[in-house]
Symmetry: C2
Amino acid sequence: MKTATVYDVAKRAGVSRGTVDRVIFNRGRVSQKTVEKVREAIRELNYSANPSASALASKQIHCFACLIPQHQKGEYWDVVDEGFKHGLEEITFCNVDLRMYYYDQNDIESYRKMAAEILELRPRGVITNAVFKEAVTEFSYKLKDLAIPMAFIDNKYDDLDFDIYCGVDPYNSGQLGAYLLTVHQKVESVAMIRVVRDSGKHADPNAPRRHGFVDYIADHFPDSAIYTLFIDPSSSESIASSMDRFASAHPEVRHYAVTNSRLFLIANWLKDNYDPERVVVGFDDLEGNLKAMREGLVDFLVTKDIPGQSNYLLTNFVRNVIYSQPPKVKNNYVHMDVLSKMNCNK
Amino acid sequence: MKTATVYDVAKRAGVSRGTVDRVIFNRGRVSQKTVEKVREAIRELNYSANPSASALASKQIHCFACLIPQHQKGEYWDVVDEGFKHGLEEITFCNVDLRMYYYDQNDIESYRKMAAEILELRPRGVITNAVFKEAVTEFSYKLKDLAIPMAFIDNKYDDLDFDIYCGVDPYNSGQLGAYLLTVHQKVESVAMIRVVRDSGKHADPNAPRRHGFVDYIADHFPDSAIYTLFIDPSSSESIASSMDRFASAHPEVRHYAVTNSRLFLIANWLKDNYDPERVVVGFDDLEGNLKAMREGLVDFLVTKDIPGQSNYLLTNFVRNVIYSQPPKVKNNYVHMDVLSKMNCNK
DNA sequence: CATGATTAGGTGCACGCGCACGCATTCACA
DNA sequence: TGTGAATGCGTGCGCGTGCACCTAATCATG
């Protein structure tokens, strides 16, 4: 079965190809009556542009902007970034130019500054994550004024307007971590390791995951103690001493969970203080975390396909925007994956 | 940066576009010297055809054939099939016609018959899985004679010629299943449930997985007994009675593994004879298996992205064949995934 | 050496679309 | 009523390929 072309639509509507083109792209210069005739013909013939021909003919470069946290090599957002790069390659034929912008997770003003730059760029679409409620909300409203669609990656604010989202259900991921930490066991006390942050400024993005974790433990082991332990990522000596202090204060604790993505920070301590009885669970398959797992220091990692997620989001978002179609699924909750020493090699 | 076109290649090689075209598609009618000049120019300019323009210009329909086991709705190969369908949609602009052929897993002659039909069709490429060593080998040789490339899905024969493979490492998956069955526990005896087959005719495709499972148990629990229990998929009453018989003969066994994909066959028995102390592990996220997991009858499922795997294989294979490029990675070992009650909802 | 077949290579067109340009007709306003 | 601007619509070209068709040179053969 042959698909309809602009020419078919034009013939059916009794106009020329140029007019059909103007209607499709809302370029104006068409009378209301004609617009409706053309729309009708498009609907009747179920016309949609041949993507190959579009890409070939259009010399226009579709500019998209992405605003995510700045990061070091190997960190969580670095892997997200890779996924975007990879997705970009998949849609080369769409002539997409993806501009990356990075903000400082501890500085809401840096987010605002980058957001302003993006607004000036007037891209066809924007991807960002949910961090500073206030700043993201402002940004979202301004984008809406300019009719620029927006997508959330990794986490989102449900009350804002966005086209598409891709990420895991963080509360559920916390529950899964707790399940794996305690499966087939009796548990009396659990240590939950957090990273100190300049937390006055913004909501901790890991909070929902932590809540899932805590709720699961409380539900299934109501008599168990949950200790929270803060470590400072900027100093490895301070990490070791924090861990030492905790371990000697609570020698009975065998179950450790790191609810953020940086389990690798305590890998050295786990190695230097190895205890075969200890159970350790972490999140996200960063290279450092995987290394710790291969060394037998970690029992389970809860993760997901991080680059796959950003890849998926980008390619779908771009397609939606370029061909002005609504997303098939707005909220894409990615599948959580469990890694153990037996399946942690890519 | 502009990508090179055929025209650029032609200019560089000092020939015309038509000659470049003949070289790329091996249409002959070009002297050896010129062929090399053109190849050289292609390499230097890192030329690859613009997929949009190719798709637009080519009216040719690329016919591919796929030969996999016949199946019922919801079974393993049904999910594989879905992945192919989905992949086909992603590459609509490539004008691919994928013809599906199905054989009877218990009848090597049915494989031969379908293979013969495919040979007559002369497709651009063939996808199949490794089942009947003899028949697949014959098929592979005949395809090679016709210069038709071949891809393996799910499992493979390493000594045959194929372009690309996609599947899990089955031995490793068996090990992972054993690990999850026994993690954090002392194990004295294990039941391994198999499906009776017309096993004289062909090698059991699940053998490597079973070996991985058995080896892991033997390595980590040398004193543990491993019992093998056969069930007959065609009769649910016989399944129940087999299970009953085994359970009363070996009441001490708490660890059950189903090493094929049909854990769902014993779901009813597990429910009717529920034992909170029992640990159950299975393979593959078929709908029936997931249902059993949601009902709390199964502790872990080892699986992978089944449709994703076939989708990936198809899209890459087609691209390789159409643009006559070698695959980036020939052996694609897909990541194994662990499902528990906490992450078994899509 | 004549003749036809074969080999090596070039050229033109169509694919479906985006977009720049061009040409009428109508409208606003002096 | 004349004139320039705005409106409504049609046409032609080019994007990079694939492929059918054409030409010139070479070769085999009697």
